[in-house]
């Protein structure tokens, strides 16, 4: 378990679990964006993502995206509980992932993949 020494000199909690949460969030948002694109690319993916007939493929895109996010969080949590990583760097990378995910959910972008 690593610790983080702040300016005050006091020892605070390890940043590991937060680093894991940030990376998992980035992975989850990008995965969700990929599921949005996949529904445009392939009819069989659209069917695969249609978990609810009333809701349509949005039901699968969101469910699978959330599952990827939570699974990534659990795995990364165990990885970063033993490993130290710069919090600021993790935040910057997570923002790159989140930005990419937001781009993937932008209609003009994902509709360009429609067949």
């Amino acid at each position: 378990m690593t610790t983080n020494r702040e300016n005050s000199g006091s020892i605070t909690k390890s940043d590991g679990p937060v680093v894991a949460a940030l990376f998992a969030m980035g992975i989850g948002v990008v995965a969700y964006g990929i599921f949005v694109i996949l529904a445009e690319v392939s009819a069989s993916f659209k069917t695969f993502e249609t978990l609810s007939e009333d809701v349509g493929p949005l039901s699968g895109k969101t469910t699978y995206g959330v599952i990827v996010w939570l699974v990534a969080w659990v795995i990364l949590r165990s990885v970063f509980s033993r490993k130290s990583y710069d919090l600021q760097k993790a935040y910057k990378w997570s923002m790159v992932f989140v930005g990419t995910g937001i781009l993937f959910t932008f209609p003009i972008f994902f509709q360009a993949f429609a067949k």
Binding site: S8, T12, M25, G28, D54, T105, F106, P107
Partner: protein, 170 residues
């Protein structure tokens, strides 16, 4: 004065969870901003962090509540195959089709990013607790996650309000 089932559903989604989300965001943002050693006493920190925890958790719960009710209660009414559903009405006229093709498509997708961001922001606050005041980097990260969660929800909320004005769910 009468509200039918669909109007009540829309109220829970927009005015219930949506309003709670807005309220929690305002409180949490103020809490993050003022959580600095030079602004609070040692005793004050305990109270501020407790309030901040309530704010960020409420915001995350409201964000999940908004997207789940929106997706599983309101959206099926919106996209129903009947000719009088909002989606059918919007697509029937070329001048309003963009509200579905761009507005609704963006709204329904971007909205789901907000609860993930809000949850991680809440996790950061719950994890560090009172230590957050000594960890300015973590405080700022949690605050910016909260702001981004709000921004993504604002896009969804804005399009939701505009689309409802043009083709309300009835």
């Amino acid at each position: 004065m009468h509200l039918d089932g669909r109007e009540i559903g829309a109220l829970i989604h927009g005015m219930g969870f949506g309003a709670l989300f807005l309220l929690a965001f305002s409180g949490a943002l103020a809490g993050f901003y003022s959580l600095r050693p030079e602004l609070v006493t040692a005793l004050g920190v305990q109270e501020r962090v407790k309030r901040l925890k309530v704010g960020v958790v409420a915001m995350a719960v409201a964000a999940w509540g908004t997207v789940i009710t929106g997706t599983y209660i309101i959206y099926p009414w919106y996209r129903a195959k009947s000719a009088d559903s909002p989606k059918s009405i919007l697509l029937a006229d070329e001048s309003t089709a963009g509200w579905h093709d761009f507005g609704m498509e963006w709204k329904e997708h971007i909205a789901w990013i907000s609860p993930m961001l809000a949850t991680v922001s809440a996790f950061v606050v719950l994890y560090y607790g009172v230590d957050l005041i000594k960890n300015d980097r973590a405080r700022k990260i949690a605050m910016w996650l909260l702001i981004l969660a709000f921004a993504t929800a604002a896009v969804a909320g804005l399009f939701g309000a505009l689309i409802t004005k043009i083709a309300p769910v009835k």
